[in-house]
Amino acid sequence: MTASPSDHHRPAAGAPSAPDHPAISLRAVTKDFGPGVKGLDEVSLDIAPGSITVLLGLSGSGKSTLLRHLNGLQRPTRGRIEVLGEAVGELPGPALRRLRREIGMIFQDFGLVGAMSVLENVCTGRLGSLRGPRMGLIMYPRAVRLEALEQLERVGLADRAHQRADTLSGGQQQRVAIARSLMQHPRILLADEPVASLDPVSSRQILDLLQRLREEDGLTVVTALHQVDLALDLADRVIGLRGGRVVLDRSTTGLSPRDAARIYESVATPTTEEMESLTDMSTLTAARR
């Protein structure tokens, strides 16, 4: 499928063209959330373009924090983050918004406006390249609306275009959210536990979709996941986080589910936060699976 017309595609200024140049690069990134509370602790890593990376770790281990640093929703206390050749942590507002167009993000709770139609929700994905505020489908150019339909078709929901977003099932809503980020023609797709509130079948569909998009659009995908088995099927590489530190970073080839699940189990000196999240049953079952 060649749905995304490349005339909308504007590579960020100074974007690296060499394929081996990392899409994302972190150097000694630390995020302090107050005295003694570290969201990220000296994280350094490079992520190659076109790869799928899964972040594993207990709730509170820093997965979301890491993802939110990649598109500047949060800024690091120390260290340097480069995404598509731009230093995210230091970009001023307009430049940050320009960079964000290149980075799609999907969330555990989808982030759709429930009362708005599916199609309009998808259209909002183009806001970064449109001037001025908009409310109502009619305010989006016809070309945008047509492309939104196409993107909905890619995720298999074109027939739901004119329903309210909150009438859809969770899995369908997540596909709408993906269609919304496709409207950005992103080069990187960030996903913060995209299947945590979905049933196994919908989860599998979403992850298959991510894999397909990587192949079709050459997307770089970074996603936080709790399900080790799904992670191993999906990813080229897994990164384990604990207390904001990278404790595991390797390719998925030859990695057994049991080894990967250790990130949840072998907590040598658990912090109180980790102990608390261990009582979270969903985490436990996810780890044991």
């Binding site: 499928m1 598109n71 929703l73 918004r97 320009r98 960079l99 964000r100 167009r101 980075i103 799609g104 993000m105 969330f107 709770d109 989808f110 982030g111 759709l112 406006v113 429930g114 009362a115 708005m116 139609s117 199609l119 309009e120 909002t124 994905g125 183009r126 806001l127 970064g128 390249s129 449109l130 001025g132 505020p133 908009r134 409310m135 489908l137 009619i138 016809r142 609306r145 047509l146 939104a148 339909l149 078709e153 890619r154 298999g156 074109a158 027939d159 739901r160 275009a161 004119h162 329903q163 959210a177 919304r180 980020s181 409207m183 950005q184 960030l190």
Partner: protein, 567 residues
């Protein structure tokens, strides 16, 4: 839905196919809602014109305003002891009436909520009682109770207490229905009786709402008490009425300033308390401060991982809860002393209820039907015009005051401050001011209500903008959208149904308020109401109340339908 676009299979172009529909077909309900809203705006504009509110009129009154200011200066405050006694009496009346309302509302709302009461009959009865309490204006209740118990605080306490049940009971019932049902079901699943389920799951979860709504009503009742004071209940309101009747503007306005200050203090205090007790998503749970550590040390409990114990440790939170409870009890006892409730009068009054109620029946017009209807129309016009003017001013202020919309701290803090100040001025004081400035009549009432509406509506708009799901805003922000784009696409779209509901609520309150403000000569049917009571034509009071009830019910039905249509 047959309107769904027929698209080619996922891959490949669609040669020759009809262009897909990229716009949603308008729904009949949506179109009707838009038509109704446009009609209301048009009616509002017509009312503004018909009531003769225009810039020249308002500007023409500037001379009056100057003359008035000259007459009210210098302000003449009563001696401190007298003033303190007045304030004390007003606060006592307000506190007791609010506590009475809360005490009545809790059982009523439990009976009215679907989550706690299965029987249709008891639910229906409770709902009807709540609606009835809301429907009868506190002024009318006060007129009845003043006849029963004589001039004085008791009539005011009962009038406001009963009328407040209409709002408090409804909000409590709604809150109970909105509570997470899981805890109750858990108790049900482990074999608890119905009563156990309710006692386990409801009170603690509801407590913040009980207190917050109670505080909110305290604010409202404080303002109402001034109005009721006007008709003889006592406190500051009575003193203002006496001063103004004697044309002693220096004393009257000095007392108005006192009321204003009192309202602002109460508003700020109750706002702070509400903010502290209502669960906030962005607040970290269970933070322990230095005071907690100190407490832990002084009671010998080791800090850090708590030693197992079946009694909860003394924390600042626990102390605070205990002290607040004790304080409410003490204040209530002090209030009972302050208002000097006399058991004999109380009993005598209660015995007289049946015969007094008979005076109000059957409703009749006492030969002035056309006058009643003409004044009723003016009341509705005042409400429509005030809502329109108020909304025009309130929308921008509300947007500026929303923390989630305007990132600049200075902007939203000063907008919030402006709202608090406007809200602080009781509408009665505004109405008195405008009556003096623009003369007796509907213009004064409209301007007073419009200004009051700004205070209420802009706060509601700001709150509902802040209550929108920020995760949705964040999702739209990640596509690179600018602030205004995020606002329109995510924030406003989420808040739109609430904003429509708030404007309709405003219209509803304005109709009631327009009636009451007639008492001070601000136009509309209220003046007739009070006059009828004064000359013992109680059947006219009933007739007017019933007519107002019809209007209010019609507006509420319209509001209900609109809320569904724009959801």
């Amino acid at each position: 839905m047959s309107a769904a676009p027929v698209l080619a299979p996922p891959t490949g172009p669609r040669p020759g196919a009809a262009p897909p529909r990229t716009l949603t077909r308008p729904r009949p309900g949506g179109t009707a809602a838009a038509a109704v809203m446009l009609t209301l705006v048009a009616l509002g504009a017509w009312s503004v014109i018909d009531l003769g509110i225009d810039l020249p009129t308002v500007l023409g009154s500037v001379g009056n305003a100057v003359a008035f200011v000259q007459r009210m200066l210098p302000l003449d405050f009563p001696p401190a002891a007298e003033l303190a006694a007045m304030i004390g009496q007003t606060l006592a009346i307000v506190l007791l009436s609010t506590l009475l309302a809360i005490g009545l509302s809790v059982p009523l709302s439990l009976a009215a909520a679907r989550a706690t009461t299965r029987g249709r009959l008891s639910r229906g009865t409770a709902r009807t009682l709540i609606v009835l309490a809301r429907a009868i204006p506190d002024l009318v209740l006060a007129i009845v109770f003043l006849r029963l118990f004589g001039l004085g605080p008791v009539a005011g306490i009962l009038a406001m207490g009963l009328h407040s049940v209409g709002m408090i009971g409804k909000l409590y019932a709604d809150a109970i229905e909105e509570l997470d049902d899981a805890p109750r079901r858990a108790v049900e699943a482990l074999g608890g009786t119905r009563r156990q389920q309710i006692w386990t799951a409801i009170p603690l979860a509801l407590l913040p709402q009980i207190i917050a709504t109670g505080l909110h009503r305290f604010d409202i009742n404080l303002r109402t008490s001034v109005l009721l004071g006007y008709v003889g209940v006592g406190g500051i309101g009575l003193a203002i009425a006496d001063a103004l009747r004697a044309l002693d503007y220096q004393r009257g306005m000095a007392l108005a300033v006192v009321v204003l200050a009192l309202c602002i203090v109460v508003e700020l205090t109750s706002g702070a308390i509400r903010a502290a007790i209502l669960p906030r998503t962005d607040r970290r749970a269970a933070e322990t401060g230095w005071a907690d550590r100190l407490l832990a040390r002084s009671t010998g409990t080791p800090s850090g991982p708590a030693a197992p114990s079946i009694t909860p440790p003394w924390t600042v939170d626990r102390l605070r809860r205990l002290l607040s409870g004790a304080m409410i009890v003490l204040l209530a006892l002090a209030s009972v002393r302050a208002v000097e409730i006399d058991a004999g009068t109380l009993l005598g009054g209660i015995l007289e209820i049946p015969s007094t109620l008979l005076l109000f029946l059957p409703p009749g017009f006492g030969g002035s039907a056309s006058l009643v209807f003409a004044d009723l129309l003016v009341t509705v016009q005042i409400a429509l015009a005030a809502t329109l003017l108020g909304a025009l001013l309130a929308v921008p202020i509300g947007i500026l005051a929303a923390r989630t919309v305007v990132a600049h701290r200075a902007v939203h803090t000063s907008a919030r401050l402006l709202i608090v100040i406007i809200r602080g001025i009781p509408e009665l004081i505004l109405a008195i001011l405008f009556v003096v400035i623009t003369g007796l009549g509907a213009v004064a009432g409209t301007l007073a209500l419009a200004l009051g509406a700004v205070g209420l509506l802009s706060k509601l708009i700001a709150d509902s903008l802040e209550e929108t799901d920020v995760r949705v805003q964040e999702a739209v922000r990640t596509v690179g959208a600018s602030g205004p784009q995020v606002f329109l696409a995510a924030t406003l779209r989420q808040a739109a149904p609430a904003v429509v509901a708030h404007v309709m609520y405003l219209l509803d309150t304005n109709i009631r308020a327009a009636t009451l403000l007639g008492v001070v000569g601000a136009g509309g049917v209220g003046f007739l109401l009070l006059n009828a009571a004064r000359i013992n034509q109680f059947e006219v009071v009933t007739a007017i109340v019933l007519l107002m009830l019809l209007v209010v019910l019609a507006v509420e039905a319209l509001a209900l339908w609109l809320r569904r249509a724009v959801r």
